[in-house]
Symmetry: C2
Subunit: 346 residues, 2 copies
């Protein structure tokens, strides 16, 4: 029998938990009822979890509850969390990866605390200089990976090269049949553009580009992120965070304006009857819940952060992401990519 | 008689020029036919300009043609331009500001060359450490100013403070009755977030904040740029350029998806009949041509860069922007703001 994919879920983190986390687990189990290859370790207040679980008819072989006595609050700071959070659902989730009971952790709780305690418990991989936060972005042909989205505000060329290796490993685990095309985010596509760090990274990635790990596609500008021509987009955490949030803000501004326009008078409201299904499809394509889940890369085990404010469907997509990351053996892919880096970079 | 507002226009730069530039001038003159307070100096090939002008019935008191013999090509590099471009429409435009014949220059030509020769001819203001490129962004309540959009890839706290003073002067010239609220772009709104440079800038702007020049509103995240709560958003040229282009790319991705959805079948096409006027209003609100024109700040005279690919309507909005900048006496506002900086900063 092959080993099951085990996902550790912090059932208590984020808004409306454990209501949404348990509903998401149920949704995931229904969608994967024919796959008997996973086990979900649910961490949190046993009574509350059981109360939610009673609403559904979950296969008991797919889940296991691990009782914990406290929850990381939104106000907790990363500095105090190390002392305060040993009995929380979040801490015990990640701890279960060290003891070999889980392959991956997922939480919708306090981001800063999650990053700090993940790093402390799982420790950084020997070959990696800095860990990174990777996210999924919609594009014309599906989705791509962007990193770093905010773990490191300053990065040198070695950090950025590590991000390229880890980001393409993540992409390969999610899309096993594709060869990742890697691009470097910059303010122009010509080789002379950008900071010294970017120019050095450009040279290194050009030398490292190969069929097995990733193909380097050069610089990419902000307006091309969603063109679908690159699979993995590399940037420092400051720039990546600004780009991500600017994209979110722009999307909100446009869809709010559209909503306002389409409901402003009787005629436009009438038009909604005819365009209902098309607009629904449009909305579904852009639904941010489909891309929910940032992946913390560079530790001796993968950790996924769900948006705290998402609903059960967003959290479900994060569970699905965890499942795919383990199924695609991302950690092995990262190790392979980094070993190539070691050989070629010396 | 008060002095006329004189706008120097490079009629030859950008796609479809001088067709679009002359059509835009005609459109501007029609829209301002009751204001006899401006003169447009048109620089370029006299024969070509006259041929275009013959299509319209322009008041000859509003325009003046200055013949030039060459045009800056898109392939020209900033390095060679200083030697090669002395007889171009672009060069002579800016030169006319030095000789006192124009108050402001506008070109849709080669951006790099425009920045370099503007800086060489007009020279930097004594008090300014680095010039900046400012742009107009749509937001819920109208529009705001963002700078730097790409003139400087690395900026220190003094540069960013200069940008705040110049950006608020620009905002005050465009919206004379408003007190500009200035925000600093960062990856979080808490004081401890961001780079050392941002933290130092935060302190300086807090101290400089006052009723006469600008009110400092703290940090702003990328998703709030279009909320309409800040009037002037400050960032370095690398981050600003990434944010601008990411917003453009996101807007294009969403509107393309919407177009695709609303034309995919007979029902959705039928809906367009009912929503026609509402969607037109929606499109108009977001029309990038309304925000066309980046303003080069920090030189001894203002220069506006129109997007090269825009049409006559986009170029018209840039002419209108030039007119407002001079009418609102931006240069005086900048000097006033910078003098306050000198006093308070010592």
């Amino acid at each position: 029998m092959t080993k099951k994919i085990t996902i550790a879920i912090d059932a208590m983190g984020g808004e409306n938990s454990p209501f949404k986390t348990i509903k998401a687990i149920d949704h995931f189990c229904i969608n994967n009822k024919n796959n008997k290859d996973f086990l979900i370790n649910i961490f949190g207040d046993e009574d509350k979890i059981k109360k939610e679980l009673n609403k559904y008819t979950l296969d008991e072989n797919c889940i296991k509850i691990i009782h914990t006595t406290s929850v990381v609050s939104d106000e907790e700071t990363p500095l105090t969390a190390i002392k305060n959070s040993k009995h929380t659902s979040m801490w015990n989730c990640i701890q279960s990866q060290v003891s070999g009971n889980s392959d991956i952790s997922l939480s919708a709780g306090n981001t800063g605390v999650l990053l700090v305690i993940s790093r402390m418990i799982l420790k950084m991989m020997d070959q990696v200089s800095k860990p990174a936060l990777a996210g999924l972005w919609p594009n014309k042909n599906g989705m791509n990976v962007v990193l770093d989205l905010g773990a490191n505000i300053e990065c040198d060329e070695n950090n950025l090269v590590d991000f390229a290796e880890m980001g393409s490993a993540l992409y390969k685990s999610l899309f096993p049949n594709k060869k990742p095309l890697v691009s470097l985010l910059n303010i122009g596509s010509e080789e002379i553009k950008g900071t010294e760090t970017l120019k050095k990274t450009f040279k290194k990635l050009t030398n490292l580009s190969n069929e097995n790990n990733f193909l380097f596609n050069g610089y990419i500008e902000g307006n091309k992120i969603m063109d679908g021509e690159s699979n993995v987009i590399i940037t420092d955490g400051f720039t990546g965070n600004i780009a991500l949030k600017t994209a979110e803000g722009t999307a909100k501004f446009i869809t709010d304006s559209l909503k306002e326009s389409l409901t402003e008078n009787l005629f436009s409201k009438l038009s909604l009857i005819f365009s209902y299904f098309s607009l629904k499809k449009f909305k579904k394509k852009l639904d941010p819940r489909k891309y929910n889940g940032a992946i913390f890369l560079g530790l001796n085990g993968p950790v996924v952060k769900s948006h705290g404010g998402t609903d059960y469907l967003g959290f479900y997509h994060s569970i699905d992401l965890c499942y795919k990351i383990i199924k695609g053996d991302m950690m092995m892919q990262i190790k392979e990519n980094l070993s190539h880096l070691k050989k070629d970079d010396q």
